[in-house]
């Protein structure tokens, strides 16, 4: 048997310190946000929550409701898809302009692009920041004022915000994949777009597809949220059902979201499968 005392773990004390520090920093966050979890389960609140949750069962599945939900699903998918298509049309050219990976001048400047190119890239990046810095729900509220209630507001809101997000992330994906094949093509006299298609795209496509599908999934969720402000689709339906205290309908709609997200996940996996 080993009789000598085990040497003390030198990492134990720092770990304890970091944990305490994290708690110390997190506590004001809870305090300032006025989070009140016990309040959910006491007195009047508990009764309201309880009866509302009890209303979730049974699920609503009468044919009239289902046909409304079916239409709402199609509308939500259409908003998300149309919004993503427009977003992609903004993001893809912007990413090509914003990325340093396609700089011809960087070739002979040991990786540092020339200043005119950097000015253009910076301007495009700032535009992308502006597009994505305003949340889609705010855009939706603005567009609802401008074009009236309906899916158009949702589509435009997604197109603008997601265009900014996709453009930024695409540009960064282009810069993160190995650059040697793109540089070799540029050095062989091909144009930027040719070097992109033959050098950069084969390396970046998997990540691009995966991120785009994920954003499409986010767009479905976003279009639901925007439904609350009158941009149509499933969100509007949830809003109506909540107002009518129809718990069964709300539960059915939530189940629908779950199925839609799982579907997006499945599509993403299927699309990436042949890449391996």
């Amino acid at each position: 048997m080993l009789t000598t005392a085990l040497p003390r773990d030198p990492a134990a004390l720092p770990r304890l310190g970091i944990s305490l520090l994290a708690l110390l920093l997190l506590w004001p966050g809870f305090h300032l946000s006025e989070l009140d979890i016990p309040g959910l389960f006491t007195g009047e609140n508990a009764r309201i929550m309880g009866s509302f949750l009890a209303g979730f069962w049974p699920l609503a599945y009468d044919s009239e409701f289902l046909s409304i939900v079916g239409k709402a699903i199609l509308e939500t998918l259409a908003i998300a898809t149309a919004g993503m298509t427009l977003a992609w049309l903004v993001a893809f050219p912007a990413a090509l302009l914003a990325t340093r990976a396609l700089s011809v001048s960087a070739l002979h400047r040991q990786g540092r692009p020339s200043w005119p190119g950097q000015v253009i890239r910076t301007v495009v990046r700032i535009i992308l920041v502006v597009l994505r810095s305003i949340p889609e729900i705010v855009w939706a509220l603005l567009f609802v004022r401008a074009v009236g209630l309906g899916p158009t507001a949702g589509v435009l809101a997604i197109a603008i915000t997601y265009g900014g997000m996709l453009g930024k992330v695409y540009a960064e994906i282009f810069e993160s994949v190995p650059a040697d094949s793109t540089r070799a093509l540029l050095l062989g006299g091909s144009s930027r777009l040719q070097a992109f298609m033959y050098g950069l795209l084969p390396a970046a496509s998997g990540e691009m597809i995966s991120y785009t599908i994920y954003r499409w999934e986010c767009a479905i969720r976003a279009s639901v949220v925007m439904g609350f402000v009158g941009a149509g689709g499933l969100g509007q339906q949830v809003d109506l059902s909540l107002r009518m205290f129809a718990g069964g309908e709300v539960a059915s709609l939530m189940l629908t979201f779950l199925i839609l997200v799982m579907l997006a996940d499945l599509i993403s996996r299927l699309l990436r499968e042949p890449q391996r």
Binding site: D180, A184, G188, S190, Y198, S205
Partner: protein, 265 residues
């Protein structure tokens, strides 16, 4: 005159002096081997000729053109006439071999042609011929990540054969091949250059291969030309002086660091 260098100097961004006061004169159709220890400046010289580096001093003329006179379109046109064979072939892992080879002529193709060819390879015959020269015809529709390091290097060479440039620059083109295949491949490269009267400049680690396949050999040592002779005139003393006092822990510049060809496609 294919290549003309007067007083060329190259400093890397980290201040490392890769080449100094280089005088070089290579005629059209010549075949020249560059030898020297790691870090002697072989890769730097090839990248300089490939217009990948800009000389910090001196005059550089490649294919009767000064690459660094103003005008990007002239530089682009010049680059389509130069073929660079990389030591680690810069081929995307999931790209098919046929597409990787056809990419050699992108500089001569219109955007539309290259776009269509990306989906449906147009010049299958040309790619096939280039690969057949290197005994890789049966790999036409395979993906690059299915090939071995030596096969990849040969795909990289096939791309440049397909490009058919006037100046072929090869940086350790056979480093991932066994000696017999290396000799065979260099022979193919030399014959291709000879048949088109193209200039071939290759850096090699193996002195035997340099002496066997190249009529002219340039020895580089610490960024300076140690000797520049026709192959029959090279003496054992020349070679000994080239590699003497070699430090084992070589202070290599990042540009010349050896990258195993098999690590990436």
């Amino acid at each position: 005159m294919s290549v003309l260098l007067t007083g060329v100097e190259l400093l890397h961004a980290n201040g490392h002096r890769a080449l100094s006061n280089l005088e070089l004169n290579i005629a059209k159709g010549e075949r020249v081997a560059l030898i020297g220890s790691s870090g002697a400046g072989k890769t730097s010289l090839l990248r300089l000729l490939a217009t990948s580096h800009k000389p910090t001093a001196g005059q550089l003329t490649v294919l009767q053109t000064n690459p660094w006179s103003p005008g990007m379109s002239r530089l682009k046109a010049l680059r389509t006439r130069i073929g660079l064979i990389h030591q680690a072939p810069p081929l995307p892992a999931r790209q098919r071999v046929i597409t990787a080879v056809l990419a050699g002529r992108l500089g001569q193709w219109s955007l539309w042609k290259s776009l269509i060819s990306l989906a449906y390879p147009l010049d299958r015959q040309g790619a096939m011929q280039a690969l057949a020269k290197l005994d890789l015809a049966e790999k036409l529709y395979q993906r690059c990540n299915q090939l071995s390091g030596g096969q990849l290097q040969r795909v990289g060479i096939a791309r440049v054969l397909y490009q058919a440039p006037e100046l072929i620059l090869a940086d350790e083109p056979v480093s991932a091949m066994d000696p017999v295949l290396a000799s065979h491949t260099l022979n193919i490269l030399a014959r291709d250059a000879e048949s088109r009267n193209a200039t071939l400049i290759a850096s090699l680690h193996s002195i035997d291969l340099a002496l066997k396949h190249f009529p002219r050999v340039i020895g580089l040592r610490q960024g300076i030309v140690a000797f520049d002779k026709a192959t029959p005139d090279i003496t054992p003393e020349d070679l000994e002086a080239l590699y003497v006092n070699e430090q084992l822990a070589l202070d290599e510049s990042p540009k010349t660091a050896f990258i195993p060809a098999t690590s990436r496609c």
